[in-house]
Subunit: 333 residues, 2 copies
Amino acid sequence: MVTIYDVARHAGVSAATVSRVLNGHTQVDPTLAERVTSSVAELGYRRNAVARNLRRSRTTLWAVIISDVENPFFTAMVRGVEDIALTAGYSVVLCNSDENPEKESNYIAAALTEQMAGVIISPSSNRVDDVKLLQDAGCPVVVIDRELQGSPTDTVLVDNEHGAELATTHLVEQGYRRIACIGGPRWLSTATSRYEGYRRALTAAGLPLDPALLRFADFRERGGYEAMASLLDDGAEPDALFAANNLMTVGAMECLVQRDRAVPADIAVVGFDSIPWADLIRPTLTTVAQPAYEVGRQAGQLLTRRLAKPDADVTRIVLPTQLQVRASSLRLS
Amino acid sequence: MVTIYDVARHAGVSAATVSRVLNGHTQVDPTLAERVTSSVAELGYRRNAVARNLRRSRTTLWAVIISDVENPFFTAMVRGVEDIALTAGYSVVLCNSDENPEKESNYIAAALTEQMAGVIISPSSNRVDDVKLLQDAGCPVVVIDRELQGSPTDTVLVDNEHGAELATTHLVEQGYRRIACIGGPRWLSTATSRYEGYRRALTAAGLPLDPALLRFADFRERGGYEAMASLLDDGAEPDALFAANNLMTVGAMECLVQRDRAVPADIAVVGFDSIPWADLIRPTLTTVAQPAYEVGRQAGQLLTRRLAKPDADVTRIVLPTQLQVRASSLRLS
DNA sequence: TTGTATGCGTTATCAT
DNA sequence: ATGATAACGCATACAA
């Protein structure tokens, strides 16, 4: 490996001067600078980031810990984070916790030992301990998508409750009365908020909250499938469905297809969070769209701000959702 | 920050002993070890990976540079890599080059300066320079999905040509005669191989290779859409389509939907690489399935092997593809 | 088995 | 403006 000393020797200057040229903070004689840069090129020198980070006791890496890489919502969000990170001079390390609190803990520990500059996380549990660990260690954290109780933290969310309420009200207005709900894990704020929105809409419409129409699954495709199957098997006879995330909506739809239930003729469907290629699915799906990319961007900006001003006030950003009505929820006349 | 020296003082031993207990390579008196571990717990000590990496002059990070995070093929592949990495004691840093050679170069430079243990890359160009840079620096590289000319490198591919040939032959057997092809960027081996498979199948069937039926796009949804639009607008009158990747297939389908062309009645469709929720799309899509997760696993294993034996022979793995016939390609009687 | 001492490659402090 | 030198936190060669 070619070090800064090799360059210094080759250029006939001291290592300090090489460092100064490379970092460009202080003034250095143009003649020497020229000699240094050409030596760097000639020797093919590349700075050792590990040594640099040790000396400066900080890195230029952000850890982004998401709960499911195969969920398009999170990948879009990551792109948002990435774009901000790059312009701010940071690189993004993507970690997939797979909705597994243990994996999540490992990644958080890694972020700490690797001296990451900051962490953006969509928590897969409501255990505040892990995030607190980061904060106690002085590592800036931004929580996204899911709210965390306990210690106040910079957070970027979407208006889950309102979105779910819009979706459910839409079904009510279409004339549906037995509206089932496939909710998410009870320990996730996204799940409880969306369920709460569903509940509020029913109440506002004067409809009962029938436990036979409720299922709670795991935000995954299979979970949605099984919840739908259970709704059908148990004779709950729903005439509509609100599913609390994109993957569960897909699972539920697959179940309906397999059992020859027509959508929306036999049962109407609205899903929370959009699905790629929604236009190719038949019927086209009514969804509550979330600004995934923008969530990522805002989180990135929050982290940049926090890095610049560690003592700034804690910010909580709530972005709006939007109901996109398509075929799956329309009452056939 | 609490260092190894703080622990040593607290436990009444030397820093070297603490290090030995932490790494567990050498034997150390159980009494002392006990004192050390409890001191570690009591002080909340976490090892500084940056310092450790500098001292050992290696890290436990793999850089996985993929060309599109929003393509389900690559995310599935990443999961395969991840699973191998974790069991081998490495963490994965996911980098999204976005099919942009410049971004790719930056990530490669970063992998080098960050002293990554190894790199797995799906190149977004056929510039062999970047990969050569890594190899010259002694950084183990595994190339995936796309073949690279020039310096021999561990590689994991799928049988693109055969898959494309199967797909096209299937269309021929269904009785289609004017089979269009939307190919990918000419500088990517996946694109040229799949085109070659298409060509071979036509030749074998005694069909002409009509330039009016050929388009080349960028492996993205919009590219597929526009290529399809151009095929329709230019009056090429195809009765079937072979699209060379999943996103372009989606784009082409969207174009057909928008223009009220029935699939497969007006035009049959086969796509290369599968699409999530293919069962919800109407008509269901005939695709050439790739073992994405397995590609990732194999790449991970190749990298592990290379790290253990830097001088081992270069390996090239080609995994099989599989034609999955669904509704979009069937001849209506 | 344990401790002492050194160096990994860089940046920053202090003289000059 | 430039150079000598120390220090970041750790792992290891060597001495005891």
